[in-house]
């Protein structure tokens, strides 16, 4: 498909716009993907540094570098930035925008203008989130969950933060809507559902969660605003309301939201593993359908966040049972990835290293999730550092590492240049070690009773905290090294060939970087997506 003479690629073809306008007004899905990449990378670094400050505070008991109120503000801001601005849009908005149309053989998404619009809404939400830190009466201190009744009483700037989350939810809905229709209507001729690559499959499942779950948190956040502004006491017992109702409504969205985070990550890993094993993915249909199963069952497990907040025994065992059920499709994927490697011709390159560490970290995160999902053990570790370690293993070790894997995998395609792989591997090593040194001790001190979100702690937890803080330092060094290596490739990277890894999905058959409309002629699909001879 690639012509001998290279055509103008999407980075050169500005469609007549100048400077920054060529980016922020472009409806090209690839440029929008890059816009998201830059925005998300900036917020990731900010959120990461805030996390670093928390670790610095926790290096010794008592006040170390900040007062308690500042600490409360920082962990809230860290959560809001990381959850709403980084991991929820994350893979879908960056790689989904860039590669979904290409992988299904389309020239763009179904609604390109809406796509650009959702990036703009994202930016508005981001600005609101930043304002919430500075405007008014100080940074919100409720934690990213905005639990009532504290969120309706706290004197800090909760309304801004809540409204930011609402606006960002709207952006997420529009992206999901766009992807669903794109996948339904714009697959290349011959690409039946079961000939579609698995990253689009995971985006499809994710998009349905985005569309069906996000409105619930939207209305819930509006109720918080109404309670603060108009004293409509939905969640205030003094006015007839019910604070536990807030928790239900919040988790009806926010549990499915963790699948918004992790499903595209699984999709990226599913693309990377066959490419570096030179082998068709094992159990294609099982992986495709398990994404839908996770999306479906994931809807009905929200109660496992609330075992200790007052629910009937029947409701608790029911939610616990479903939590165990939802682990099955995730495990199916892990077995399939490992089986794909079996007897494959494995080529250990940077993206593959990230993919391998994803599986390792995801297993730890997933299995400790079952400790939290079963009723008796959850009561013991509820609201301790154990929970913090668990979800960082899933969200950072899962979604974060998949993002790093994805950027190293697709970087040559997106920019047409190849980074220094040796340095990328060293950065991977540092990140992997730093990550485990940072989060693993939290499992241990969590088991011993270290509560989460605490500014101070008893002396016996100090060893764990010190090790963890050292890990944070190592991790930050590794992340900056990785970013620097990718960034520097713009200057001294080598020109990437069109297909540096020997992948077989459609994106590798285009020139690097792709042209504005991806395909001169829409391809006709005649076989399976992972067809290695």
């Amino acid at each position: 498909m690639e012509n001998e003479s290279k055509q103008l690629n999407y980075l050169e073809d500005t469609q007549g716009r100048k400077g920054i306008w060529a980016w922020i007004l472009s409806t090209d899905h690839k440029r929008i993907g890059i816009l998201y990449l830059i925005s998300i990378a900036v917020f990731f670094v900010v959120g990461g540094l805030l996390g670093g400050l928390m670790r610095a505070e926790l290096i010794a008991p008592g006040e170390t570098i900040m007062d308690p109120q500042t600490y409360n503000g920082i962990f809230t801001v860290h959560g809001i930035i990381m959850i709403f601005l980084v991991v929820i849009p994350g893979l879908g908005a960056v790689f989904g925008n860039f590669f979904l149309p290409i992988m299904i053989g389309a020239k763009d998404v179904m609604f390109p203008k809406l796509n650009l619009f959702s990036w703009w809404i994202y930016i508005v939400g981001a600005v609101l989130a930043i304002c919430s830190q500075f405007a008014g009466d100080g940074a919100p201190d409720t934690g990213w969950t905005f639990y009532a009744p504290y969120s309706t009483e706290s004197g800090t700037n909760v309304i801004f933060a809540v409204f930011a989350a609402f606006v960002l939810g709207f952006s997420s809905i529009l992206t999901g809507l766009n992807f669903i229709v794109t996948i339904h209507r714009m697959r290349a001729p011959g690409m039946s559902w079961f000939r579609m690559p698995l990253f689009p499959w995971s985006l499809y499942a994710t998009a349905w969660i985005q569309v069906l779950a996000t409105p619930i948190v939207g209305i819930t956040l509006l109720m918080i605003v109404a309670e603060r502004l108009f004293q409509i006491g939905f969640f205030d017992p003094n006015l007839g309301g019910d604070p536990i109702l807030y928790q239900h409504l919040f988790w009806i969205y926010s549990h499915p939201a963790v699948y918004i985070m992790i499903l595209p990550a699984m999709g990226v890993i599913t693309e990377i593993i066959p490419t570096f094993c030179k082998k068709a993915v094992f159990g294609y249909k099982a992986i495709a359908l398990s994404s839908l199963a996770i999306a479906g069952v994931g809807y009905f497990v929200w109660g496992h966040h609330m075992y200790t907040s007052g629910m009937s025994g029947t409701a608790r065992w029911f939610f616990s049972f479903l939590t165990f059920i939802v682990a099955i499709p995730s495990a199916i994927k892990v077995f399939n990835w490992v089986s794909t490697m079996y007897k494959g011709s494995i080529d250990v390159r940077t993206p593959f290293l990230y993919a391998l560490s994803f599986i390792f970290l995801f297993m730890i995160g997933g299995l400790t999730g079952l400790v939290l999902g079963s009723l008796a053990s959850d009561v013991h570790v509820h609201d301790t550092a154990f929970v913090v370690a668990h979800f960082h293993y899933i969200i950072f070790g899962g979604m974060g590492f998949a993002f790093f894997a994805g950027i190293h995998y697709w970087y040559p395609k997106m920019f047409g240049i190849m980074y220094n792989e040796g340095k990328a591997n060293i950065a991977w090593m540092i990140i992997f070690v730093g990550f485990n040194v940072l989060y693993f001790p939290l499992f241990v001190i969590g088991m011993q009773g270290m509560p989460r979100r605490y500014f101070d702690y008893l002396p016996e937890f100090q060893t764990g905290h010190v090790i963890s803080s050292i890990g944070a330092l190592i991790l930050l060094v590794g992340i900056f090294m990785m970013i620097w290596n990718l960034f520097r490739a713009r200057k001294n990277g080598t020109i990437a060939e069109a297909n540096p890894w020997g992948g077989v999905t459609l994106e590798w058959q285009l020139q690097s970087p792709p042209t504005l409309y991806n395909f001169d002629e829409i391809p006709t699909i005649t076989g399976d997506p992972y067809n290695y001879k």
């Binding site: 229709v181 569309v211 509006l222 409509i232 006491g233 007839g240 409504l249 009806i252």
Partner: protein, 198 residues
């Protein structure tokens, strides 16, 4: 590149958007159901304060406006631009009437001192408090949707007038109509849940 056109896709996008709107209100209906179950006697007595006649009148108005917007689609399909514009105009007029009624309804209640946070309301039972909280929140959100719907219909009207929407290409009008039906549909549920439970 020529404009990519896919009417089925556009309609599908609109339907999915409508799902999200229904879920948005769905969250509220859930909250309503929970508090209605908890405070059924108070909801019953508080609902007497609402003006059933005005509510019913507004229901009729919205039903008619849904009909006129549907008729305007047929008019465009038949190429009768003038009729389509008139029908859309009537729809928007109906929406305005709805808003005026709502204004008087709310104004009357605020005048009597029944609004969230008022001194009078603080002497009410908790369940009645919750009923009026829900009443203002649900109808308020609905009014917001009416206004958005009116803006959409105005844009559509402008496009019918300029010929961008015509007998060959009318999916935008259909989608605008779908949105208007949604606004109507939500009211159909709000009306009995708030006004007719006395």
């Amino acid at each position: 590149m020529e404009e990519h056109r896919d009417d089925i896709g556009s309609r599908m996008g609109m339907w999915i958007f409508i799902f999200t709107e229904i879920l948005l209100f769905g969250g509220l209906f859930l909250v309503y159901a929970i508090f209605r179950a908890k405070y059924s006697a108070e909801f019953h007595s508080a609902a007497y304060e609402l003006n059933t006649f005005l509510g019913a009148f507004n229901t009729v108005i919205l039903l008619i406006s849904s009909m006129t917007v549907a008729m305007s689609i047929t008019a465009v399909q038949k190429g009768d631009k003038k009729l389509a514009l008139i029908l859309l105009g009537i729809t928007i007029l109906m929406a305005l009437t709805f808003l005026v009624n709502k204004y008087f309804e709310w104004g009357h209640k605020v005048h009597m001192g029944i609004y969230p946070g008022s001194d009078l309301l603080k002497q009410f039972e908790q369940g009645e408090l919750m009923f009026f909280g829900l009443y203002y929140f649900m109808t308020g959100l609905h009014v917001f949707h009416i206004i958005v719907g009116m803006i959409i219909l105005l844009v559509v009207m402008y496009k019918v007038n300029s010929g961008t929407i015509n007998a060959d290409k009318f999916v935008l009008l259909e989608n605008g109509g779908l949105y208007w039906h949604l606004v109507d549909l939500i009211w159909i549920f709000l009306f009995p849940l708030l006004y007719l439970i006395t």
